[in-house]
Symmetry: C2
């Protein structure tokens, strides 16, 4: 079984767990505090970022999109209909664009700030930037949630799955980001019915089960978090 260094409140880590779960492969999960900069962990990834996969022969594979490409090259290409990338080069480019949208753009404009202020800061030492949440940062991130929900709703309303006719890494990246926001009660589907229908399909997949069981110390999930009929 391969090992994944992760944190349950990071969309990038959840994305990798979903990719492996879709392929029916269990992971040995090791939780890493993103702010800790633990020496043994920095030896695996000098950037200190998560997730890091310890693949065959304990070789580290660093970063969510790098791991997704690695999994496609070593496993996905053999999965035929269940492959999480497309065969066509332009469809692959579209999948990668959307993975980056939800793991980089949504992360930088929304998710990262809400998680930092609401989940990490209370546990971070002052020297690492811990302390009281910053209401202005939370407000700015919440304003951006709506923009990202609208784009998700547009994609879900015009395509079967986010990148086209079948489930791909694009769906898993978006669902990973959304599930973090969902845990925090920061989603609002009122004006995004197509996104709701799409997320409901994702949430019902067996691959999603371990994510729905995630619990973070000191912060209970929103009431509808594990509800498939939200």
């Amino acid at each position: 079984m391969l090992t994944l260094f992760h944190h349950p409140m990071l969309a990038s880590s959840r994305f990798v767990r979903l990719v492996f779960a879709e392929y029916g492969e269990d992971l040995n999960l090791i939780e890493e505090k993103p702010w800790a900069r633990r020496k043994e962990f920095l030896a695996l990834n000098p950037a200190g970022t998560l997730p890091v996969l310890l693949a065959e022969n304990e070789q580290p594979v660093v970063g969510a999109t790098v791991i997704a490409e690695f999994v496609d090259e070593t496993r996905g290409a053999l999965k035929r209909e269940r492959r999480l990338f497309a065969e066509d080069v332009f469809e692959r480019a579209e999948i990668r664009r959307l993975v980056s949208w939800f793991l980089d753009k949504t992360e930088n404009e929304v998710t990262r700030h809400l998680v930092r202020e609401r989940v990490f800061k209370p546990f971070m030492p002052g020297s690492a930037g811990g302390g009281a949440p910053d209401p202005a940062a939370i407000r700015a991130a919440r304003a951006n949630v709506r923009v990202h929900m609208r784009y998700l709703n547009y994609l879900a309303g015009t395509r079967d799955w986010l990148a086209g006719p079948k489930l791909t890494c694009a769906d898993l990246a978006a669902a990973a980001a959304l599930s973090v926001l969902d845990y925090l009660g920061e989603t609002d589907f009122t004006e995004a019915p197509a996104a709701r229908e799409w997320y409901s399909r994702l949430k019902s997949r067996p691959s999603f089960r371990t994510l729905l069981a995630d619990r973070v110390r000191g912060l209970a999930p929103a009431a509808s978090y594990a509800d498939l009929d939200f």
Copy 2:
């Protein structure tokens, strides 16, 4: 000839130009102001980010790493010894890790701030965040330059090329970032002799020529910018 929407002071755009130049393929370059959010450009890439490649049949391929994967899939695999990715999956993961290091991490900690404060702000309208440079942002970015130079020097000093025994996208990503800093006179090789030797090799390649001819309105390059013997 394919079209690339780019900006000469963005490392991500320079990286894509280097990739195509290494394969001997000219591009039709269209300069896009990164802050302009031009309507026709947003139709190609709703994120509004650069670079965007208009590939065969005018199909947009969005983002530097997505374009690099596209180029590898459509061209690189046929280039044998001159391929900019490796064949081995772990070597490919290492190349991707380093591309992300220099185009994401270096960008977010160093390059983006210096370019924004020193190059973009004077031309940006106030509504888009233009105005006088922020000395604190410049100071913070300059402090980070040293960390990134040290890592580059470590890589260049322990491997033939940054990701291993041959030239890959990792070298082009690092050189793209470094060349932007070099234009701004923000590099210092005093404590990075291996990085200097490596960058000198990169700078001498034919693929680098158009980059060295780049000029930005209102800001002349540092004296040593186009000097191969810096």
